[in-house]
């Protein structure tokens, strides 16, 4: 009965979405206030209906209702409750329901926090989001119904994919989807602006906090995914350029470009058409990511069960949504004015260059992801493009982008003087070059790539320090007042940029100085790596709720002093008979000591892989700093005050920052 209620709620949600996607948009075109007024109530009704469906599915999982096909294929009676709940989004149908759910959360948020928007604009935004929702609800109800019954009911479920039975997996997909789907808000703002022909700076100002919010979620989601891969896959890697990872990374790159370009559009009125295009692209890439993951056109470690009809549906949906918005763009964009003029040396042109680099990086990731498919489609054979391609293409694009990141915030708007910039930045340049030469030598060895990475990281540290120093110095006020004087969005930018530097430093050091050994170990054997002694103290058999595990114990000492004990596990999940690795990690900001159990060998020995990964945690700390910077920018005064300021499109914001 409960699953039928969920199913019915989805059908009702579709009907509501049809109203939400049509009347408000037509009403906005005709100036019909009643029709426009339907936007908010329908958005809220739709949210409630999808929430009901979501809870029905969660209930079916919690109560182990194996008469529902989706529950039977993604759960098991021995699965602990928290994973049974997370299993709601562990498979295809449930992920779509989560997508729809999150879309409706964003829509409802827009309906509450859009009091300052003109009625027509708000009606169009909510209408466009309703149109997107129609697509997803139709998709679920036609070819991916999570509530489909299994008759007769299964005795027990086939269990959740063991890869997903991990605390990281409970949070990672919702975070990622909040980011993906969050770009639908920026997209809806852009489409609404195109529809209304109001492509001034106002839409940019309104959509900025939404875009930043989505970007914060996406950053955190990608970070959680990378961290999960690091300890769960047992190879010590943190990024694999896998098709599914790329699917989340492309919207991130474009979203990052969008955040910056929105700032320019808002402050200076430039880049207007470009910003609209980026907003369309960011969401289009999110949709494309969904297509790649869900249609099975690409092989991937994340591969899910696939069905060609589903692929066809998503492709048709992509054509309607992306194709339609690009047609709209081609039709309306020529009417957009050119915007403010700026010099070759100015903050605008630095930001433009950064934007172009980020966009090209996204295109090259897209190309690398789809290249195997293109060749295959042309009958030129099967190839796979792996890390070699991405590493080669990505580094040359990111290096200038990171360099410009140091200059951009310091340069003036409109026109900056190159000699003055050079004078301001010579210290930062000197310090970063010196560090890039000395630090690798202190750490062991120097290569051009290590040197470049360290130079860029310290370049950003140095220029940021200069930026903050210039901002805070020369005043008699107490330090605290001086710190509080720049806006929070300015501080947010500084912290996010420092996050990039921390990230770059982590990547460079771990790539340049990590070491690993693969050894055969018997109880009592000692392996040596990076000055540490790893003593293998044997393997214990342990029974988990739905798996049996061999847990190794490795004691780490340095010069006879005990440091820590690692407990890597090799689990076999009983239902699917699938072996899983749980690495044993001792993390710290200096280095991670990482061990994973391989195969059992003859005579009670095990093959063991041990890694020493200096500063690998900085990668994720950097991501968290970026996300925190975004949050800080969101907490800026002008957003908190926006209910009091009636937006008119010409309001002047005192604080000039990016």
């Amino acid at each position: 009965m409960i699953p039928e209620i969920g199913h019915f709620a989805l059908i009702l949600a579709l009907l509501v979405a049809l109203i939400q996607g049509s009347f408000p948009i037509i009403g906005a075109a005709r100036g019909n206030a009643v029709w426009m007024g339907l936007a908010r109530p329908t958005a809220r009704a739709q949210f409630l209906l999808i929430a009901v469906a979501f809870f029905c599915l969660a209930y079916a999982f919690a109560t182990m209702d194996y008469s529902v096909t989706y529950v039977a294929s993604n759960s098991n009676s021995k699965l602990p409750l928290q994973y049974r709940i997370a299993a709601v989004w562990g498979g295809h149908e449930g992920s779509l329901l989560l997508w729809a759910m999150i879309l409706s959360i964003w829509t409802v948020a827009v309906s509450f926090f859009s009091k300052h928007l003109p009625d027509a604009m708000r009606a169009r935004i909510i209408g466009v989001m309703g149109l997107i929702s129609i697509g997803f609800l139709l998709f679920m109800l036609t070819v991916s119904n999570p509530f489909e019954r299994l008759i007769p009911a299964a005795m027990d479920g086939r269990d959740l994919n063991p890869l997903l039975q991990d605390p990281g997996m409970v949070f990672h997909p919702p975070m990622l989807y909040m980011g993906y789907v969050g770009f639908s808000v920026a997209f809806a703002f852009a489409i609404a602006a195109l529809l209304g022909g109001e492509l001034d700076a106002a839409w940019a100002r309104w959509s900025r906090p939404w875009t930043t919010m989505a970007w914060v979620f996406l950053t955190t989601g990608i970070m959680a995914g990378s961290n999960w891969a690091y300890y769960e896959l047992g190879w010590g890697g943190w990024w694999f350029w896998d098709a599914v990872e790329n699917a989340s990374f492309m919207p991130w790159l474009v979203g990052t470009a969008l955040i910056h370009s929105l700032a320019v559009t808002e402050k200076r009125g430039s880049f207007k058409a470009w910003t609209v295009l980026l907003a369309i692209c960011a969401f289009s890439l999110s949709l494309l990511g969904t297509f790649l993951v869900r249609s099975g056109v690409l092989t991937s470690v994340h591969a899910f069960a696939t069905d060609p009809r589903r692929g066809l549906f998503i492709l048709a949906f992509l054509v309607v949504v992306i194709g339609g918005s690009l047609v709209l763009f081609a039709w309306r964009a020529p009417a957009i004015g050119r915007g403010g003029k700026f010099d070759v040396v100015s903050r605008e042109s630095f930001l433009l260059a950064n934007n172009v680099l980020l966009a090209v990086a996204a295109i090259s990731v897209l190309f690398g992801t789809l290249y195997p498919l293109f060749l295959d489609a042309l009958g030129l054979g099967k190839i796979s493009v792996g890390p070699p391609y991405f590493d080669t293409v990505f580094a040359p694009l990111m290096a200038p982008a990171l360099f410009l990141m140091g200059v951009g915030p310091i340069a003036r708007w409109k026109q900056a003087a190159l000699p003055e910039l050079a004078k301001r930045l010579r210290w930062a340049f000197g310090v970063s070059v010196a560090t890039a030469i000395i630090l690798p030598l202190l750490l062991g060895h120097w290569t051009p790539m290590i040197g470049l990475g360290i130079f860029l990281a310290f370049w950003i540290f140095g220029t940021s320090a200069n930026l903050v120093y210039q901002r805070l110095r020369g005043s008699e006020l107490p330090l605290m007042t001086r710190i509080m004087s720049p806006s929070r969005s300015w501080w947010g930018m500084v912290i996010a940029h420092l996050g990039i530097a921390v990230f770059t430093l982590g990547v460079t050091v771990v790539k340049g100085f990590e070491s690993e050994i693969a050894v055969r170990m018997q109880t009592g054997d000692v392996a040596h790596l990076a000055g540490f002694d790893f003593t293998f103290e044997g393997v214990q058999e342990i029974e988990g709720p739905n798996y049996s595990s061999s847990r190794g114990q490795i004691r780490i000492t340095k010069n006879g002093v005990e440091r820590t004990v690692l407990m890597p596990e090799k689990r076999v999940y009983t239902v699917q008979n699938m072996p899983m690795t749980e690495a044993g990690i001792s993390p710290s900001l200096i280095h991670d000591l990482y061990a994973s159990l391989g195969e059992p060998l003859d005579g009670g020995a095990w093959s063991v892989r041990i890694y020493h990964k200096p500063m690998v945690e900085w990668i994720w700390v950097g991501c968290l700093m970026m996300a925190f910077g975004g949050l800080l920018a969101l907490s800026d005064r002008r957003y908190r005050m926006k209910n009091r300021i009636k937006a008119t499109g010409s309001e002047n914001v005192a604080e000039v920052s990016v």
Binding site: P308, L370, K382, Q576, M578
Partner: protein, 175 residues
């Protein structure tokens, strides 16, 4: 106007490729070994480690070579099909137990039935490297001259057997 149409044109090109891609199977990977002699090996037999198997002994007949393991989930999918094939007696089926223990492998054959005339034990996976094993299961069709005629990556399904492997075997047998 024209330059604003560019994104649309790019997008439609990508869509064209995606549409074609939907009809392709990303798992169909051609093997560089097809058309080359099957790599030689001399491995102990699973049922009797005293005896060995080598492709050399099988020259002059068309045979199937199936790489399997007791730890492999997808092998369970194809196993009934292999058992049925072996009962039909159309083509001799030899196996290679890949990175496995003798005890587990024998237990698995006792449970699911043994479709193989004999299985070689590739405990350390060295021969698997020679054969370019991507993942278990894989199945090779080897002709009378000892040349690999076809390679199936992933489980053998009814369709693959009916449409690809058996017609090929029939053709090779009449050569």
């Amino acid at each position: 106007m024209k330059r604003f149409l560019l994104p649309l044109v790019i997008f439609l090109t990508v869509v064209g490729f995606l549409a074609v891609g939907l009809n392709l199977d990303p798992r169909e990977v051609p093997s560089p070994l097809v058309g080359k002699p099957a790599p030689m090996f001399n491995l102990p037999r699973l049922d009797n480690p005293e005896k060995t198997i080598s492709p050399k002994d099988l020259l002059g007949q068309v045979w199937l070579f199936n790489v399997w393991a007791s730890w492999c989930g997808a092998c369970r999918e194809e196993h009934p099909i292999l058992v049925a094939l072996s009962k039909s007696g159309t083509v001799p089926l030899y196996g290679m137990d890949y990175k496995d223990t003798r005890q587990d492998a024998q237990q698995w054959l006792e449970q699911g039935g043994n479709p193989y005339i004999a299985s070689a034990m590739d405990t350390d996976g060295r021969v698997g490297i020679d054969y370019g094993v991507y993942g278990v299961p894989e199945t090779y069709v080897i002709d009378k001259a000892g040349v690999i005629a076809y390679k199936q990556i992933g489980p053998v399904t009814e369709e693959v057997l009916r449409d690809k492997i058996l017609p090929l075997v029939k053709r090779l047998q009449t050569q």
